[in-house]
Symmetry: C2
Subunit: 368 residues, 2 copies
Amino acid sequence: MTLLIQPTSPELQLADWARTMSRSVLRQMIAVVSQPGILSFAGGLPDPELFPTQAFAEAMAQVLATDGLALQYRPPFPPLKRHIVNLMAQRGVTCTEEQVFITTGAQQGLNVLARLLLNPGGQVMLEEIVYTGAQQAVAPFLPDILTVPTDLQSGIDVDAVERHLAQGARPAFLYLIPEAHNPLGVSISRDKRTRLVELARFYGVPIVEDDPYGFLTYGDDWGMESRLLSDSASSLQSLPLRALDAEWVFYLGSFSKILAPGLRLGWLIAPEWLIPRLTVVKEAGDLETSGLMQRAVAAYLDAGHLPGHLAKLRRAYGRRRDAMLSALACHFPADARWTEPHGGMFIWVELPDGMDTAVLLETAVAQE
Amino acid sequence: MTLLIQPTSPELQLADWARTMSRSVLRQMIAVVSQPGILSFAGGLPDPELFPTQAFAEAMAQVLATDGLALQYRPPFPPLKRHIVNLMAQRGVTCTEEQVFITTGAQQGLNVLARLLLNPGGQVMLEEIVYTGAQQAVAPFLPDILTVPTDLQSGIDVDAVERHLAQGARPAFLYLIPEAHNPLGVSISRDKRTRLVELARFYGVPIVEDDPYGFLTYGDDWGMESRLLSDSASSLQSLPLRALDAEWVFYLGSFSKILAPGLRLGWLIAPEWLIPRLTVVKEAGDLETSGLMQRAVAAYLDAGHLPGHLAKLRRAYGRRRDAMLSALACHFPADARWTEPHGGMFIWVELPDGMDTAVLLETAVAQE
C-alpha cells in the first residue's frame, strides 16, 4: 500500500441543505418540560394522566404472552388496518384496508409523502404559520415554499391558495391541518373545505391533510357524538377533506393524541395504487413499524376501550379549554386576542404590539 | 369563486426518483415466509424461538406499571445510552453517551446519515453485492454509485476503494458491513480494516459501518469471549472500524438480531458535534424513537439478561451454521462454492455456471 501523507486535515462535508438546518423550538422544549415541576402549555403535549396505561399494558402483555411472532419482522398487521377503517368511518371517511398505510407516527407519513412527491428544489404550499414538523419534513429538499395566510376564524386563506394556482404554481402538495390547527387552534370552515378540494382536483395539486386532533372536538356542533347521531348540515361542518375526495387528499392519522405519543403509531390514507410506492419509501426509512406495537394497539382496540376513552378525553380537554379561555379573559391585557378552538390542544394568543414574547418567556421561567 | 372547468384530468406527479424505485426482494419475501409451514433461509430473519420474549414482557410490564411518563413524548433515554456505551465497550469501541444517537432500528440510522451527508445526485461508494436496505436508503438521491468488488475470504476490495479515491472520487460515504456481511457472510480481514480507516482519514471520506452481526460471532478466534478474555493479536481481528477511528467511522448498531426486530430499536455512534444535526434529520422522519420501547429495553438490560442471552444465541446460531455447512457439502453440486462465515446469519452460495436460481426457487417452492 502506498504511504499516505496527508498535507491538510480534510473536513467532513455535509449535504448542502444541512447548512440551512435549524432545530424545532417545540422539540427543544420537550427536554425542558420533561423536568419535574414544570407544567407546560407549549407544544402539543397530551396529559399523561389521561393515557390508557393500564388497559394498554394488559393488551401488550396479552400479545407478548400469546403471539410467538409478535417480536419478529412482519408485514403491516391487517387487524389494525381494519380498526383504522372503522375509526375513519367515525370521521365520516370511507376507505378500504388497501388504502391504509401504517406509519411510525403521523410525522413519518408526512416525511414519506414528501419523499414521494417532492423533488429537490421543488415547490410546496404551506400556511405562513405552520406546524414545525411540516417545515422539517420539507427542509432537506431546499424547497421553494409558497406561503398563504390563515384567518383565525375560518382557517387557511383559500383565495390566496387559488391565486397561486391560477397564476400557474403547481406545488408538489398543500399541507394543512383541518381541525384545531397546530398552533393556531382554528378549524377550517365547511365552505373552505369544499373549495380546497375543488382546487386540488382542478389543478391536480394533492392536499396532505394532517388530522391528529380530529377525534378531539368539543361541544355539540363540532363534537363526534353529533356527527354520529345526525347527518344534518351542521354535522358536515367538520368532515375531513378526505371525506370529500379520495384521489387528491392524503389523510394523516395518529394515535399520539387519542392514545399516547410513546407508541409512535399513526396511519396514512392514500390511493391504493400508491401504497407499494409508499412502502418502498418507508422501508428505506425504518424497514417497518414495530409489529409488536401494531399488535398491542390492535389488542387494545379489540377490547373495545376506545369509545369510552375518547369520550373521557373530550370531556377532560374540553374543560381545560374552557378553563384556559376563562383565565385568558381574566388575566390577559384587554387588547390581547386569542382563538377559541372547537377542539385539539392549541389556543393562539396575540399580545398587544410591542410585547416581546421571547423576553416574556425568560422572565416567566425565571420568576415562577 | 370562479367556476372551475376542467379540460383534462390532471395526473398525480411523483418526484423524479420515484420512476426508478423498486421494491426490495428481501422485504417482499417477508410476506411469503410469514405464512405457516414455510421455513425460510432467505433474508436476515432471526429465529423467533430465540427471542427473549418472557424476560422482555416482564421488563415492559415493569416500565408501564412504574413510569407514569413512559408513553409520553420524551427525549432519548439516558440509561439506554449508558447500556449502549457498555455494549460498545464489549466490541472494543470506546465512546461516550454524548456520541450515542438512538434510532428506530439501524435502517433509520443509515437513512438519517444519507440525508445528512448526501446531496441529490451526489456520489456514494457501495460494494457490488450489498445489503438491499443500503441501496434503498440512497436511491431517492438518484446518486452516482461507485461500486467496488468483494473478496469472499477477506471482504471488500480495498485496492479498488483506494483506486477510486486516488483518482479523485470523494463519495459522501462508503457503506460496509465489517462482520458477517449481508448477504455474503464474509468478515473483513484485520489488515483491510486498518487500511480502510487510513483511507477514510486521508481522503476525508466517512465510512458508515453497519454492524448488526458483530455480537453474533462463532468460534474461539472470533468469539466475544475470547475478545473479552485476552487482548492478544488475534482478538484484534474483529475489532469494528469504529474502534480504530472515532472521527471518520460512523457505527450503526441494532437490537434486531441480538434481541428482536419487532422492537425497532438501534443506535448510531457519531462524533458529538453531529448529534444535534442528526436529531434534526430524525425529527423530520419520526419525531423520536418510542420512549416506551427505549425504557423497556433498558429495563431488560438492567436486569442483566443480555450476556447469557448472547451466549445462548452464539451457541444456537453457531450450531445452525455448522449444520448448514454440512448440508451444503452433502447435498450441493461438487462445483458449487460458498462462504464459511465466522458469525451472523448469511452463507453465500455460488452455483455452477448456467444454473438459474430464480427458476430454481420457483421449482423448489412448487415441489416442496
